[in-house]
C-alpha cells in the first residue's frame, strides 16, 4: 500500500513538472534567473549522488584509499569521459574497470 502511494506520488510530481509549462501553452514563463538556476540542478543532484556512492561504498565512513574499487573505477570513468566525451563508452569502460578492480583487490 505504501509502495502504491509512493509510486503514485512520484508519478504525480514527475508529470506535474513536465506538464505545467505545456499546459499553460507558454503563458507561464520563467524569469531568467530561474532558468539559469535550473541549469544547475542536474549536475548538483547527480554529483550529490555520485560522491557518497563512490566514497562511502559500504555505508560506514569515507573510504579514500586505493583499496576502494568504486573510487578507482570512478576515476577511470572520469578520464574516459573527459577524453571520449561519449556517455556509453564512459559507462562501459567504467563498469569494466570496476569489475577488474574488484577482482584484483
Amino acid at each position: 500500500m505504501t509502495e502504491a502511494l509512493m509510486i503514485a506520488g512520484m508519478a504525480f510530481v514527475t508529470f506535474g513538472i513536465r506538464y505545467i509549462v505545456l499546459a499553460s501553452a507558454g503563458h507561464f514563463t520563467f524569469p531568467s534567473w530561474a532558468k539559469s538556476g535550473l541549469n544547475f540542478v542536474p549536475p548538483a543532484v547527480l554529483t550529490a549522488i555520485i560522491i557518497p556512492a563512490v566514497l562511502i561504498p559500504n555505508g560506514n565512513g569515507i573510504e579514500f584509499h586505493l583499496q576502494n574499487a568504486s573510487l578507482l573505477a570512478a576515476c577511470v570513468a572520469m578520464i574516459v569521459g573527459l577524453i571520449r566525451k561519449d556517455l556509453l563508452t564512459t559507462i562501459v569502460v567504467g563498469m569494466i574497470a570496476f569489475g577488474l578492480f574488484k577482482w584484483l583487490l
Binding site: V13, V41, T47, A48
Partner: protein, 256 residues
C-alpha cells in the same frame, strides 16, 4: 483528429493537420521511432539493471513495473531504489523525485512554443513522455525541419519517438526483473556501479564554466558532510545548496 480543438488564432494549424493522411502519419511515427533508436539502445542496459536491482532494494516486481509505466523517469527511478534500500520513507522519496526531475521544467519550457498549437490531450501526452531522450530527439528534429512540417507532423513524430522509448523501458524492466529472479547472484556483480558511471558521464559535459564547477564542488563536499543526515535528506540539502552557490556565482559574475 485530436488537434481540432484549437484557439481561433491557430486556424491555419487545423488546416495543416487535417491534410495529413494515414500513411503519412504512419511514416512520421516510424521516422520518430528510428530517430530515437540509438538512445533506445543506450537505455536497454539501464532498464534491465533497474529491474534487476528492484527486488534487492525492497521494491516488489509489481512496483518496479508500475514505476516504469507511471513514473517513466530513469534517473529518479534509480535514485528511488537507492533510497528504498536505505530504508527511506515514501514522502522523502517523492520529494527527492521532485528535485531530481525539476530539470524537465527546462525541457518543457524549451519546446512549448513548438507544440502550443496542439490540443490539451496532445500536450499532456508530450509532457508525459518528456524524458531526456525524447527531448533531445524532438529538439534536434525541430531544429532541422521547417514550420510547415512542425505544424503538421510534430505530434506523430513525437509519438513514435516517445512510444519506442516507453515500450522499450517497460520491456527492459520486465526482462531485468526476470533475470534478477533467474540469476540471484547477479546482485553481486557490481551492477550498481553502472549508475555511478552513468551519472559521471552525465555530469562531465556541464563542467565548462566556473559557476558550474563551484556548484559541483559544493554538491560533492556537502554530500559527504551530510551523509549521516536521517532519511537521506543530505541529498536534497546538498543539491539545493549547490544550486544556490552555482546560481549566485553565475549572477554575480554576470553583473560585473
Amino acid at each position: 483528429m485530436m488537434s481540432e480543438a484549437q484557439a481561433p488564432d491557430n486556424c491555419c494549424v487545423i488546416d495543416e493537420s487535417q491534410n495529413i493522411s494515414g500513411s503519412e502519419i504512419l511514416q512520421e511515427i516510424l521516422s520518430g521511432s528510428r530517430a530515437t533508436l540509438p538512445m533506445v539502445v543506450g537505455a536497454i542496459p539501464f532498464g534491465i539493471i533497474f529491474g534487476t536491482l528492484a527486488e534487492q532494494s525492497g521494491l516488489s516486481p509489481f512496483g518496479a513495473i508500475a514505476m516504469s509505466i507511471f513514473v517513466f523517469a530513469g534517473s529518479s527511478q534509480f535514485i528511488a531504489l537507492g533510497l528504498l534500500a536505505a530504508g527511506t520513507g515514501p514522502l522523502i522519496i517523492i520529494a527527492t523525485t521532485f528535485i531530481v526531475n525539476l530539470r524537465h521544467l527546462l525541457y518543457s519550457a524549451a519546446i512549448v512554443d513548438d507544440v502550443k498549437h496542439l490540443s490539451g490531450p496532445w500536450r499532456a501526452v508530450i509532457a508525459f513522455g518528456l524524458t531526456d531522450e525524447a527531448f533531445a530527439t524532438i529538439v534536434d528534429k525541430i531544429r532541422k525541419s521547417d514550420d510547415a512540417w512542425r505544424l503538421r507532423s510534430v505530434q506523430w513524430f513525437y509519438l513514435g519517438s516517445f512510444g519506442t522509448m516507453y515500450g522499450n523501458w517497460i520491456l527492459c524492466t520486465i526482462i531485468g526483473i526476470t533475470l534478477g529472479e533467474l540469476v540471484p547472484e547477479m546482485s553481486n556483480w557490481g551492477l550498481d556501479f553502472a549508475m555511478s558511471a552513468t551519472f559521471i558521464g552525465m555530469v562531465l559535459p556541464y563542467l565548462n564554466t566556473r559557476p558550474m564547477m563551484a556548484c559541483v564542488l559544493v554538491a560533492g563536499a556537502m554530500s559527504l558532510g551530510t551523509a549521516d543526515m536521517p532519511h537521506k535528506l543530505g541529498l536534497m540539502v546538498s543539491a539545493l545548496s549547490a544550486v544556490a552557490v552555482g546560481l549566485s556565482y553565475h549572477l554575480m559574475s554576470r553583473r560585473k
